[in-house]
Symmetry: C2
Subunit: 164 residues, 2 copies
C-alpha cells in the first residue's frame, strides 16, 4: 500500500495543480471602501470552457474523513476550474495529480490546509473528491455549468492512503 | 435622521436585489462523490458584462462596525454581480437599494445575516460597502475584472443609520 503524507499547503507546492486562495501579504492587495477593507485580489484562474458555459456558485456539504484516509479514485473537470473555500474555518485534505491522460502513482501529491485556505483546481487536474476533516465541512464552490461532459473519474493505478 | 432596522436576511426579501447563498433544503441539491457530499447547486446569478470581462475570486478583509451604524453612501457595479460569502462564520449587515438612476430613501433596505449566509448583489443594485460586525470579517468574493468603469458611488439622499 502506497502511503502519502499530507504536506502543509503552500502556493509554491500547489502551483502545478492550481491556485491557493488565502489572505497573504504576498498576494496583490489594496485598500477599498475608504480604507475599511483590504482586497486580496484576483487569486484564482477561473476557467469556464466549452459551449453554453457559465460560472456558478454552490455550497458543498461534506461528511468528514479521519486519517489515515484510503484513496481509490481521482476525478477531473476537463472544461473548467473548480474552486473550494471552506466557510467554517476548517482544514481539509487535497489530493492531486497532474493533468494528462495517464495518472502515475509517483506523481500523486497530498496536502492539508490550515483552515483559512481554499484551493482552485485548474481544468483537467486530477483531484480526489472533497476530503473534509474533523467535522462536517461546508465549502463555497465556484465551478462551471454548461454543455458536454465535465467530469471524468478514474481509479488510482494502485490503492493509496493519506496520513498526517 | 432616518433609522433602518436590520431585518433577518431571507431569499424572499432579498430577491429584488440579488441572491442569498446558503445551505437550505429549499435549494436544488443532490448527492455527489458517492453520497459523501451534498451539492447545494447554482445559487447565484453570476453576471460578467462588458469588454474583456472575466470572473475573479478575491478575499476581502473588513474592519467591523457596531450598531447603530451610520450610512452615508452606496455603490453599484453596472457591469457585474458581486458575491460575498463570509469564511469565518460571521454575520454581517447588508444595505441595498434597487437598481436605477435615482436612490429613493424610502426604498433603502437593511438586512442582517445569520453567519452561514452569503449574498450576491446583481449588477447595478445599489449596496453599502461591506459591513462586518463583531470582529474583523473575511469574505470570499466573486466579482468581475474587465474594461471600463464598474463602480459608481453615490451619497444617500439623506443620512441614515442602521440598528438591530
Amino acid at each position: 500500500m502506497l502511503t502519502l503524507t499530507a504536506a502543509p499547503l503552500t502556493r509554491e507546492a500547489f502551483a502545478p495543480f492550481g491556485d491557493v486562495i488565502q489572505v497573504d501579504d504576498r498576494v496583490e492587495s489594496f485598500p477599498i471602501n475608504g480604507g475599511n477593507t483590504q482586497r486580496y485580489h484576483d487569486q484564482a484562474q477561473v476557467q469556464i470552457l466549452g459551449d453554453n458555459a457559465r460560472p456558478i456558485i454552490s455550497i458543498f456539504r461534506s461528511q468528514p474523513y479521519r486519517f489515515p484516509i484510503s484513496l481509490e479514485l481521482l476525478e477531473r473537470h476537463p472544461q473548467g476550474s473548480q474552486a473550494f473555500m471552506p466557510i467554517n474555518g476548517d482544514r481539509f485534505v487535497v489530493v492531486v495529480a497532474p493533468a494528462g491522460e495517464c495518472i502515475r502513482a509517483e506523481d500523486v501529491r497530498a496536502f492539508v490546509t490550515n483552515g483559512q485556505q481554499g484551493v482552485n483546481f485548474h481544468a483537467g487536474v486530477w483531484h480526489h473528491p472533497m476530503l473534509a476533516l474533523d467535522r462536517v465541512g461546508d465549502f463555497l464552490v465556484v465551478d462551471r455549468a454548461g454543455d458536454g461532459n465535465n467530469c471524468d473519474e478514474r481509479d488510482l493505478p494502485c490503492p493509496m492512503t493519506v496520513s498526517d
